[in-house]
Symmetry: C2
Subunit: 112 residues, 2 copies
């Protein structure tokens, strides 16, 4: 099993083989976090319905919520016009952020 060749052909990966994935709560529109995917992580996300990323710090696949319980159920996935960014719409169980905040952008406002 691997990523659909039609999708793989459209994907423009960075030098590290990864694309950024923007993760958004599907109904409220909140931007929850940004994570990274390689082809296999995108494949697993599309086929399992559970958001799966590549952890750059741990260098391993990471099924969001497997340890915390803060699962992301995948509702929609889209590629951008350049094929170099993924937008994931999910239903987030609990907090998206490891700090316990609902989103990873709650704690450090630069403006206003």
């Amino acid at each position: 099993m691997s990523l659909d060749p039609d999708i793989a052909a459209r994907l423009k990966r960075g030098p590290d083989g990864l694309v950024p994935a923007i993760v958004q709560q599907y109904d409220s529109g909140e931007v929850l976090m940004l994570a990274w995917m390689d082809d296999e992580a995108l494949h697993r996300t599309l086929t399992t319905g559970r958001a799966t990323y590549w952890s750059r710090s741990r260098q391993e696949y990471w099924v969001k919520g497997n340890t915390s319980g803060h699962v992301q159920h995948v509702k929609a996935v889209a590629l951008d016009c350049d094929g170099d960014t993924v937008l994931l719409k999910v239903d987030q169980v609990g907090a998206a952020c490891h700090t316990g905040d609902r989103t990873c952008f709650d704690a450090d406002a630069l403006l206003p």
Copy 2:
């Protein structure tokens, strides 16, 4: 003029000196696009109220809308928990995408 040292100290840049910036329409919550910023682009975005990026393809600063008229008026800026991603809330004039679509994620749905 350069980026506030307190902010610069919290910013975790990639090997290319850039951080991804997620751009969201401030009222509807639509995710419009993803772009890239270095310290100077973030500084200009925070101080001018106009979204300013670093263009990786053209290797130059890029004030969104300067040629297209599709300006982004900055409403809010936040850093994520790791300091490696920026979330920009803007008021987008016209289309965010160079294709004429409202967002860069309108044309290529992978799921459903």
